[in-house]
């Protein structure tokens, strides 16, 4: 069931927590089900991911209204992990794990409008037209946001790898 997995992956990257993604996916699939007749084009995946994103935005708004404070965009659920000492693996493996965690954290830290587009392009392998449909912006905006997201990610990634001292046990 590839679309269900795509919906979950996208929701997971949007919500940035497993629990948040669960709620978003469930709501999105139900909405998709109720709105089955709304699908006229052939791209069912883009259609479902559009609904996923709308559900995510709705959930975000509700959360903000309840909390009366906006959820900070740079909020990082993985910050805690970075301080936990890793078991002494072989050096290269340790570096690889650090990189993985770094990239995941950096992507999670991108603003939503950049993160969504980057994930759709690089993880879901969707073309510009489908991405534009999912996030509801013109094609040119997809391209400019993608360029900004990539530039920002690369900048932060390089400074992480070269700059910060590594945490050692």
């Amino acid at each position: 069931m590839p679309h269900m997995d795509a919906a979950y992956r996208f929701a997971r990257w949007l919500a940035r927590t497993g629990e948040g993604a669960d709620d978003v996916v469930q709501e999105a699939v139900l909405r998709a089900y109720r709105g089955f007749d709304g699908l006229r084009g052939s791209d069912a995946k883009a259609w479902l991911l559009t609904i996923v994103r709308n559900c995510h935005l709705t959930a975000l708004k509700q959360h903000q209204r309840r909390a009366q404070v906006p959820l900070p965009e740079e909020h990082d659920p993985l910050d805690g992990d970075a301080l936990i000492a890793t078991t002494p693996d072989p050096e290269s493996e340790s570096i690889r794990q650090d990189e993985e965690r770094t990239l995941e954290r950096l992507v999670a830290g991108l603003p939503e409008e950049h993160r969504a587009i980057l994930i759709l392009r690089e993880v879901e392998d969707m073309d510009y037209r489908a991405i534009a449909a999912v996030v509801n912006v013109p094609l040119g905006t997809v391209m400019s946001r993608l360029a900004r997201a990539r530039a920002a990610l690369k900048r932060r990634w390089q400074s992480q790898i070269e700059g910060a001292p590594r945490v050692v046990p």
């Binding site: 069931m1 669960d22 993985e100 992507v107 990634w157």
Partner: protein, 252 residues
């Protein structure tokens, strides 16, 4: 500071330009070190993202929860049996049915989905129940007359055991508002259902793949045929070719 061609380099790296534009950009990158570096950066970033980002998968508990929620929504108005029936009766096999049920609305354009859904539902149902065959026979001279009076059509019945498709028997399913004749074959570890019904004037796709099940449709005379199985597409097409060859030799 930034080369005006940079957006095109990105589009090129994303496979969004045609061959002519790609050629132009490649020529440009030979001249422009900035765009060359950008292109390398884009490739490097993509490699790192695809290698290092976690590839999240739907937790099974969520999948089950979604199915239950869908089921609660379903007023029972659908023609094939609701997921709750299968989930209740065959809880261990729930995932396959969940897949088939979700595919019902996620997969296909509305034009063809009810029909594909019926066929896939009939196939999955036949594997779950003891109702795989109504008449157990590898003899076409037993199976073909058995359909008379039971099914609305009299399909070609052939056993291809020597080619690896062993005829297990026949069955009648109520499909597409008629009593469709079903031949059941075994191919290796896989069961293949071969449905046949009066074609009419409806539109059918030639091949559909859904959740690992392949469906291949073809028409012979005034009958529509469809084979459904989780065997490889090529193996399924092998049976289709044998059936078409047999039909050409014996147009009874």
């Amino acid at each position: 500071m930034s080369c005006p061609e940079a957006p095109l380099v990105q589009a090129y790296s994303d496979g969004e330009v045609d061959a002519l534009a790609a050629h132009t950009i490649e020529r440009h990158m030979e001249q422009c070190s900035e765009c060359r570096a950008l292109y390398q950066d884009l490739l490097q970033l993509r490699t790192a993202l695809r290698r290092d980002l976690p590839y999240f998968e739907t937790p099974p508990a969520l999948r089950a929860k979604v199915m239950r929620a869908l089921d609660a929504q379903d007023g029972g108005g659908r023609r094939w049996r609701s997921p709750s029936f299968w989930l209740g009766a065959w809880s261990g096999l729930g995932t396959a049915v969940a897949a088939a049920a979700l595919a019902y609305f996620l997969w296909l354009p509305p034009l063809t989905s009810p029909m594909v859904d019926e066929l896939l539902g009939a196939h999955v149902g036949s594997l779950m129940s003891s109702h795989l065959v109504d008449v157990v026979s590898t003899d076409k001279h037993t199976v073909k007359p058995w359909f008379a009076g039971r099914a609305d059509v009299s399909p070609l019945v052939v056993d291809f055991e020597s080619e690896g498709y062993k005829l297990l028997g026949g069955r009648v399913d109520y499909l597409l508002h008629q009593r469709a004749a079903v031949l059941v074959f075994r191919h290796g570890a896989h069961v293949i259902n071969l449905f046949s019904w009066d074609a009419g004037a409806r539109f059918f796709p030639s091949q559909v793949t859904r959740d690992g099940y392949h469906l291949v449709f073809w028409r012979a005379g005034d009958l529509e045929y469809c084979v459904v199985s989780d065997t490889a597409q090529d193996e399924l097409l092998g049976l289709v070719r044998l059936m078409q060859g047999a039909a050409a030799r014996d147009p009874s």
